[in-house]
Every structure is written in C-alpha cells, then in structure tokens.
Amino acid sequence: MSARGGRARLAPYLVGLPGGLWLAIFFVVPLLVMFSLSLQSGNAEAGFRFTWEWSNYTRAWDLYSTQFLRSGVYALIVTALCLALAYPMAYWIAFYGGARKSTYLFLILLPFFVSFVIRTASWKFILNDQGIVLGPLKEAGLLPQDFHLLATTTAVIGGLTYNYLPFMVLPLYVALERVDPSLVEAAHDLFASRAEAFRRVVFPLSLPGVFAGVLITFVPVASDFVNSGILGGTQTTMIGNVIQTVYLNSNNYPLASAMSFLLMAALLVGIFTYARVLGTEQVMEVSQR
C-alpha cells in the first residue's frame, strides 16, 4: 500500500467523504444547533436570539422534573423486568436450543416484522376496557365495571417491556452462547452444584451480555414516548411526550432543546461509562446482531 503513495493515502478520505458529510450535516451539526438553540431566548413569532440563556435548563427541570424522574424510574423498572424475563429464555436457548437455536431466535424477533406503532396499538386493543380480555371478565362479574388498565402505569410499563424485551434477549443469548459447556462440566467435576456452577461460572461469563442488554434497553425506554402516548394517560406522561409537545405544539424550541439536551447528557454519561467498561467495539458488535 505504501508503494502506491499519495493516492492510496487519500483513498479512505475520498471513499468515506459523502457518507461522512451526510452524518456531519444531518447528525453532528443538528446536535450543535440544538445546543445553541437551548441557550437562546425569544418566541416563535419574533424569532429567537442567542443570549446564553442558561435559565432554559433550570426552567426545564423546574417545570418537568416529575416527568424526567418518572422516565428514569420507568426505564429502571422496565430494564429490570426485561432482564428477569429474558435471562431464563436466553439461557435455555443457548444451552439446550440444539439445532433449532436460530428458529427460536427468529420466533423472538417476529414482533419486529410488525410496525412498532401497530404492535403498541394492538396492546391497547387487547387491554381495552370493553375489549377481548376485560370485557368478558366484567360480564362474568369477575371484575368491577370501572376496572381499567389503559392509562395506568401498569399498561405503560407492560407495553415498554413487551416492545424492548427482544433487545434484551439478543445480547444475553450472544454472551451465553459463547460460554463453553465444558467449563460447566469442569465446575461439576470440581464438585460444584448446579446452582453454584451457574453462579460462579455461567453468570460471570454472561456479564458482557447483561451490560449490553441493559444499555440497549435502558436508553430507548427512557426516551420512549410511543408507549405512554398510546397506552398511557395524563398520569404516565414521560419526558419524551413533553419534549414532543413543547417542540411541536408550544413551539418553544429553546425550552424543548434544553430538555432534549438534559436527557441526552444523562443518557450519554451512562452510555460512555458502559462503553468504557465493555469497550466500544464489543458493544457495537453485540448491538449489531
């Protein structure tokens, strides 16, 4: 390569340029613009001016700390639920799936062949007050007439868990699949019980999958607004719903930008702490599958 000299050294820049420009203009620059917008003041009619308006950030927190915290709490609960629900499944498929491993994975990925919004709307349909589940139960007198699931925290957390569960199963499966079964046998030969072999051999080896799964579940859940938009009510509003409303309905771009930035800053700190623990390549490798 060195023999071809200058042209070869330019090649990566030329090949990578168009895509790089697109990402620079439509990913990096927008982030900078959003940061600048978050420090501006004014209103939609008169226009906005850059005034180092840091108060947008304090106002964002003062007005919507409830929704910020609620999003964090929901994301923690959903991530923990996903981990608990996904681990046994990923474990069984990885160790006992045999020749049908990819079939099981395919079945778990089936929801991705249906639009995210339709999937969530389908849950709204299933959980409807007079729908296919609650309707018959109410007619049979097993539930009070005013019982409802929609617009409750349960519905939103249920929807989020359903929608993000596959994201947890995949990295767990990848990590567990890599565990050499002969290590487990070795543990048994060294008198470890099944529980002990799991606790001291299998689980530690699956930790990269746990970290990756937690990461790629927590981040989108914390910023989700489709589930609370469709399944939730006024008491379950998440920060994503507020940001969307302030941008599109109130047109208060500086305040909305400050909120997006607060959310992103919180999440980025988390992502890079995790990426440091795992190494960027590994996280990307896992999230690709």
């Binding site: 990566p12 090949v15 990578g16 046994p88 999937r119 299933i126």
Partner: protein, 282 residues
C-alpha cells in the same frame, strides 16, 4: 459430597431415586415451557392484529369478535388518508434505502479497509448515531430545520431516514469488509485487473450479502419509524404517523390488514433468505 456418592453408585443399586429423579425430570420442563410461553406472549399482539383483520365489525370500533369477513381485504384502500400515508411511507423507504445503502457502503468500506487519521472520530460518530435515542435525532434535526427555516415535509423525512439508517448500513458492511480475504483481491490484481475491475468483479460480489442485509435493515427502519418522523414530517403523513393518530379514536380494520400483509411480506423475505443461505452452504 452427595453428588460424588450417587455418581459412583451403579444405577441399579441407587437408593430409590424415584422421587428426586421424577422431580428433576419435571424441573427440566420449566425452562422450555417458559420459553414457549414467552414466544406465545411475543406473538399475541401479532395474532390479534391478523385475526381482527377478518372481523366483521360495524363502524369504527373494532373491539370484539363479530363474525368473519373478507371485506377489509376487498376495501383495503377505501380510506384515502391511510392509503396516501402508506404510499408516502413506501416511497420514502425506497428512496432513503437507496441513498443510505450507497453512502453506508462507502463508509463501511472506508472504515473496514483503511487506517487513517480521524478514523477514531469517524467511528465515534457512527457509534453515537446508532446508540443515540431516536428522540434526540428527531429533536436535533427539527432544531436544524427550524433554525435554517427549511420547510418540513417529504424531503426532510428522507434526509432524516438516511441519517439514521446510514450508520446501520455502515456497520453491517464494515463487518463484511473485515471478514474479506485480501488474497482474493491481490490475486485479481496479479492477473492484470485494474483497481476498478477488481472492485466490481471481486470486492462488490463478496460484500453483496452485507450490503443486502444493510439495505433490508434500512428499509425496515424507515418504513417503521415513528419517532424521528413525527418531528420532521411537517404536514406529510406516513403510515406509522397515521396509525398513531388513529389509535386515539380507534383503528380501522384496514390497518390490521396492511399490518398483516407487511408482516407476511417481511417474514417471507426472511425465511426465503434463510433457506437460500442454507442451500448455498449445504
């Protein structure tokens, strides 16, 4: 210690293991049964979507089973707003897939093949574009468009979709580039092929599976996107946007039918792809 004892004991002499043995066989069923129950849970909303596309519902409320009908398949395009939204989604998905695949492939090549100054920053941008929450992508693009006063609509949706699918295509192609055998390209050059011919006849066909996978991913991401699109759509409605709006008042059965058809199409492509790959390997 007890494990050693039972293991050394010949099976006939083992002291009445009937109860623990039966229990072990029973506990062995827990995980498979659980996995299948979870798979059922995963498919529940899909089944409901498919079944209620055949529901003979009166009016807009499609809530309880009222009899079998094929009316909604016949009247698939009866709702004009929905049809327009679906058409918009398809056009946007095709255009953004083509652009994202071409650009993403070049990025994947550059990152997979070369070491160059600035590669670390480039990798970081790709990583951030993949892991950034969609909400942030949408909000920041909206910030850009309102600041430069660019009218939101069809063009801004395509721009946004390319921006988020490009990075996914890039990492898919890069993985393929990293797995390439450099000997093959050298052999072509030794046989007198110029760089462009080598690329066209050797590199591109070897990368093709990665490029196709990236393109399918880009298409799926685009046609399904609600979050980013909701920020940059302006007056244009796409299929997910229309369904989200309709979910407040009740979703017409035509949506179930369209969802079913898209589902069957996607599953068909995936299964066909897997069978094809198996035949090539076998």
């Amino acid at each position: 210690m007890s494990t050693v004892a039972t293991r050394q004991a010949p099976p006939e002499v083992a002291p009445a293991p009937a109860v623990p043995g039966a229990r072990r066989r029973w506990t062995r069923l827990i995980l498979p049964v659980y996995t299948w129950l979870m798979i059922l849970y995963f498919s529940l909303p899909i089944l409901v979507m498919i079944v209620f596309g055949f529901n003979d519902t009166k009016g807009r409320l499609n809530l309880r089973w009222q009899g079998f009908t094929l009316n909604w398949y016949r009247d698939l395009f009866a709702i004009q707003g929905l049809t327009t939204a679906l058409r918009n989604s398809l056009i946007i998905a095709v255009i953004s897939t083509i652009v994202a695949t071409v650009l993403g492939t070049t990025v994947g090549l550059a990152l997979g093949r070369y070491r160059f100054r600035g590669k670390g920053a480039y990798d970081l941008v790709i990583f951030s574009a993949i892991s950034a929450p969609e909400l942030v992508l949408g909000a920041s693009l909206l910030s850009l468009f309102v600041t430069v006063q660019f009218v939101r609509g069809f063009v801004t949706i395509v721009i946004a979709h390319v921006a988020f699918s490009l990075a996914f295509v890039a990492v898919t192609v890069r993985a393929r580039v990293l797995g390439l055998d450099p000997d093959l390209e050298e052999a072509a050059q030794d046989l007198g092929a110029d760089p462009w011919t080598t690329f066209r006849k050797i590199t591109l066909p070897l990368l093709a599976p990665g490029i196709v996978a990236g393109a399918l991913l880009a298409f799926a991401l685009s046609i399904d996107d609600y979050v980013v699109t909701s920020f940059v759509s302006g007056q244009v409605e796409t299929f997910p946007l229309w369904v989200f709006g309709a979910s407040r008042v009740g979703i017409p059965p035509q949506v179930n039918v369209m969802g079913t058809l898209i589902f069957l199409g996607g599953v068909g492509i995936a299964v066909g792809n897997a069978l094809l790959a198996r035949r090539q390997r076998g």
